[in-house]
Symmetry: C2
Subunit: 653 residues, 2 copies
């Protein structure tokens, strides 16, 4: 932002005055109530952070279950379910609650996600009245624990290739569920090793000998505590983290469930063995089913932002206490955050965390509108799926990076388990993998851009994508990309006309937006051209795809970063004048310019950044760091992390 800053000479620069609670209100937004409930619950159960270290794995799993059930009793975890079943009837609030829960122990978070998001969400979204009546009230109350049995050992991201079979036996009117081989065993399934009574099992449906693709079934895993007949369960054992969640493997050996066990919102099998679905196209049907599960990705994106906040709050507070080396003859040792390097390490990460928080606000709102029927059409769903996938990837990689940088910035003390980083690092590591591997998700995002979402979004088959792009005249793709329209628009908005990329002020948010928009459009057109060229040269589509894969990922990142920048700029513009607006403006500049700086090689390679200007951006980022420095503690305090869970006695004091 910061036309203010740009026009203010450095000597006349006035540090914005922030009121921390006002800024917290800005960030909490409409969900302040549920967030405060979660904060209260976190503080009440803060001892679980110590117990994660102190208890053995069995005892800790039981403890986490207790905490989850207790939180359920406050209404915190049921916000996404209809009021008729004891829920809160507010999808957006359920995500906001989950985001806030990420401030605490992450086993509790993930167990909540498994029970209420994945398991409960599948029953709610894929089932119909009979399933809702039978299960939802007990699920919401935490009385019926269950698991979401999708992933198999041999099939993680490629869900369409699952091996588990559910064959309809017309004589008994039952489905017979079978694990054909060890590659098809269900694996890494949360709640499976100990607590689940039921599972929602994804399996290839066979009716009358004909395969109908992947469908979901409710299957009992345990009856009165004993493993159900035909079911075999193995504990996945100790993990890098999240050891309060009981992940396990499941095999099914001819397990029979009644016809009504099929979660039949989108397809059903009649008693006589006739398959019926309102969605004719099997691919579309599959992706419609999967699409209802998008809130898992939105949840994890928000959790990634929450994890980053905890790490940055600890490292920032440490950096204003810890002194190291003398900086001047007469001053004694200097606090870490007064070193330029330390500012460079932490402050752009704070800015990016704010940016991702605001982008998450946008995706959560979209999710709420789609799932509350406020704005629910195919287009809106696909846009939501794309944004959820992209933000999940960027937010969880950000969390991994932030935790690492902050641990290092806290030195040896950061390595002691008592100071939270050990748990943060081990627990959050798998965020980049579960709910969709980040690289696979970014490929989904890019495919959506390439095909303009013309085919089903989640159809990951790259052959299909290559064929689709090949089928277009490349001119169509390039024309669809609005690069030249973009440049026309920019010319009107920015000083300098066609020379906007040399003339506009670095702190003009229109300049920053133009840069990230240009990058995305250019990458999209370039990728389409590369695919087309490969195919024109009669090369194998698989080889073509393999060779452009890094461009695919780069495009998706650029797309998501453009969206994130836009949501940040929009937010700052909409705020009333005052210290909070000025502070967020500085952060927005810092985010946008450090994002451009990180990819400055690309901008130079593509003629949108001169050497002089590239260097000027780096200087400006340093300058912004110096301006943000005195605000740093207020900025992390505004996240409202309860002090009881900011537990790092050697660092935060």
């Amino acid at each position: 932002m910061a036309s203010e800053n740009a026009s203010t000479p450095a000597t006349g620069y006035l540090r914005p005055e922030i009121d921390v609670s006002t800024l917290t209100e800005v960030l909490d937004g409409e969900y302040a109530g549920i967030r405060d409930l979660v904060r209260t619950n976190l503080a009440k159960h803060a001892s679980v952070l110590e117990e994660a270290d102190e208890l053995g794995i069995d005892a800790f799993r039981e403890r986490v279950r207790e905490v989850v059930v207790d939180m359920a009793s406050t209404g915190q975890t049921g916000m996404g379910f209809p009021a008729a079943y004891g829920g809160g009837g507010d999808v957006g609030a359920s995500i906001a609650a989950f985001e806030t829960l990420a401030f605490g122990d992450l086993s509790v978070l993930v167990k909540v996600g498994v029970q209420f998001g994945l398991f409960g969400g599948a029953v709610l979204q894929l089932g119909t009245g009979r399933h809702h009546e039978a299960y939802l009230a007990d699920i919401v109350g935490g009385r019926l624990m269950g698991c979401f049995a999708m992933t198999e050992t041999g099939h993680g991201s490629n869900v369409q290739a699952l091996g588990t079979v559910a064959a309809y036996d017309v004589a008994s009117r039952e489905f017979v569920i079978t694990t054909p081989d060890d590659q098809a065993r269900k694996d890494y399934i949360g709640n499976a090793a100990r607590h689940a009574e039921l599972a929602v099992v994804f399996a290839q449906l066979e009716v009358g000998g004909r395969s109908r693709g992947v469908h979901a079934f409710v299957v009992p895993l345990r009856i009165d505590g004993a493993t159900a007949p035909g079911v075999r369960i193995e504990d996945d054992g100790r993990k890098m983290g999240l050891n309060g969640v009981d992940n396990g493997r499941i095999w099914f050996d001819g397990v029979r469930v009644p016809r009504e066990a099929l979660l039949n919102r989108f397809a059903d099998v009649s008693a006589e063995g006739v398959y019926e679905s309102a969605i004719d196209n099997p691919n579309r049907r599959f992706f419609t089913m999967l699409g209802t599960l998008v809130q898992g990705r939105v949840s994890i994106a928000g959790a990634g932002v929450g994890v980053a906040k905890v790490a940055l709050a600890i490292a920032t507070k440490y950096a204003v206490r810890r002194r190291q080396f003398e900086a001047a003859a007469d001053t004694g040792e200097q606090v870490l955050l007064d070193y330029g390097l330390h500012q460079r390490r932490l402050l752009p990460l704070i800015a990016r965390t704010y940016a991702l928080h605001l982008a998450q606000d946008g995706v959560r709102t979209q999710l709420h509108e789609v799932f509350s029927g406020i704005d629910d059409d195919a287009q809106a769903r696909r846009r939501l799926e794309s944004r959820a996938a992209g933000l999940k990837a960027l937010a969880t990689w950000h969390a991994t990076r932030v935790v690492q940088e902050c641990r290092e910035a806290c030195g040896g003390a950061g390595y002691l388990a008592v100071n939270r980083f050990a748990a943060l690092k081990g627990d959050s590591d798998v965020f980049t993998t579960f709910e969709g591997d980040n690289h696979v998700l970014l490929q989904l995002v890019a495919k959506g851009l390439l095909t303009d979402h013309a085919s089903e979004f989640e159809d990951l088959d790259q052959l299909g994508m290559v064929r689709y792009v090949t089928g277009l005249a490349v001119e169509t793709v390039i024309e669809r990309t609005s690069a030249h329209k973009l440049l026309e628009r920019v010319r009107d908005l920015l000083p300098g006309g066609d020379e906007w990329d040399r003339e506009a002020g670095l702190l003009d948010s229109e300049y920053q937006l133009a840069m990230v928009r240009f990058r995305e459009e250019h990458m999209l057109a370039g990728l389409a051209r590369r695919i087309k060229r490969g195919i024109d040269q009669k090369r194998d589509p698989g080889a073509v795809f393999s060779q452009v894969q890094d461009h695919v990922i780069a495009l998706a990142r650029a797309h998501v970063e453009r969206l994130v920048t836009e949501s940040f700029v929009d937010k700052v513009r909409a705020l009333p004048e005052g210290g909070e607006k000025e502070a967020l403006g500085l952060l927005c500049d810092l985010f946008a310019l450090s994002t451009i700086e990180a990819d400055r090689a690309w901008f130079m390679e593509h003629g949108r950044l001169t050497v002089q200007r590239s260097k000027a951006i780096s200087r400006e980022v340093n300058d912004l760091c110096r301006k943000v420095r005195p605000l740093a503690v207020d900025l992390v305090d505004a996240w409202g992390i309860p002090s009881a869970v900011l537990r790092a006695p050697d660092l935060v004091g």
Copy 2:
């Protein structure tokens, strides 16, 4: 390398044939014997990898001690000590043993480092005959355990500011050791919480009321298993990893030790209380003492390379087994390593691991020559200290990055503790911090370059550095940097004359070397100019330093990467013709070009890379990845990691 490759058209490219055992011989070099002993010991004790998960913290600490003592009995851990005390009398071999030990459990590694490297090394290097006679044989045999009590809670990297005091009491002829406050308690000290009987304690020596700076003393911590009088020890508790090492805190409350407890190789106190040292300058004395401990950094650098090898071996083997998604209509799912993106993720990391291995060979050789008296002068010591510091930083950051990338590349299976990444990640995380925080180490390296090692190398005081640089005419610094001489040399070596940076082949190693050399020289001159300018503007030296700190770090990285590139090129040139030379040539090209690519923004900003050529480098990196792809498994097998410790049943099979 690869004038071969450059001149071979892509269609005529022949894949090199590698003999794995021949390549292992190349890598093991002169230390094949000791490395094989370590491999045997690792395989014998491979169960410790499981025990790390299964045993409680107390039992695991005892188990690790057992393994360490057993390894000591084979001679493995004593290679660096004189034969007279049961050692092997071969400093280089002791480092090679440590590097190889990093293939196994890292608590065992670090306990070996604490006992034989830090504690034993301090007694050997800082003590004299009386200490050697009294302790070394028992230390080498693992009968006398001890710790290295340098770091304090309030003082990690700034050792000169330690708070512990050792005051000489002339009446009793004793030193009285005192911890004045909690910031001065010794902290994170390995072996302290349980096993150490003795400690080498670093404290401010006071003689006759006058402070003489930091010196080291042998102080009993436990007598017959009970904590010694006046000593208080607290357990640091659970850590992110390395839980087989018993780290603790130590306070001294007027602990009296005899005059002979001073490790008096470089300074002594007479019975009458007269301080004497052959080194007059107190700063120089301090850094001479510290300099003898350089092998700790060389050891950790090598361990970082070892950790990266384990992670890459697992991820590479997984990537040639695991299939995901169909790549072509008729082929079924494709193995991960045939995807361009997966190649991009893993293969440049393999190349960099080879590069760091070979650079480590060079530093180990220098260490051996200095400490064996083969090439031991002040200049050689400072060069060694600089290289050890720089390589430690790059190798340990590399390890952190590699472990993370490989875990993600192994998906959910990588998250299970049974598949090694959990331990690798948690255990190796602190490598970037201990034996010197990486950022602090790189500042040391840069300072050495700026001052041409004119002042004491480890003198970290940035004020001193700023003053020193300020005292030089900036022309002196710039002249000393050999940028223009470099360019003259390049002009003769490379086709294209003054246009070498546009004309030379990308696969010409002289081109690659010229690029990384140019970068270093240019950064050095630029940094000197910035400091000079700041001072000329009468700005506060601390503020000047703070503002150039990111340039300081960039210079140090560029310096180390130049050295690493040179050692790789030299190694390949020296090899006899054959498949191994060709394969290493490919890796050398991949390392050099991916290094330039990663910093291509800088090269463009400084006029040494055109936009077209920058893009060509990225294409060439992709092409090299495709060439290295079929060699990948052989390349990781050549590291000779015993299969018993490559324990990742779900990944490696």
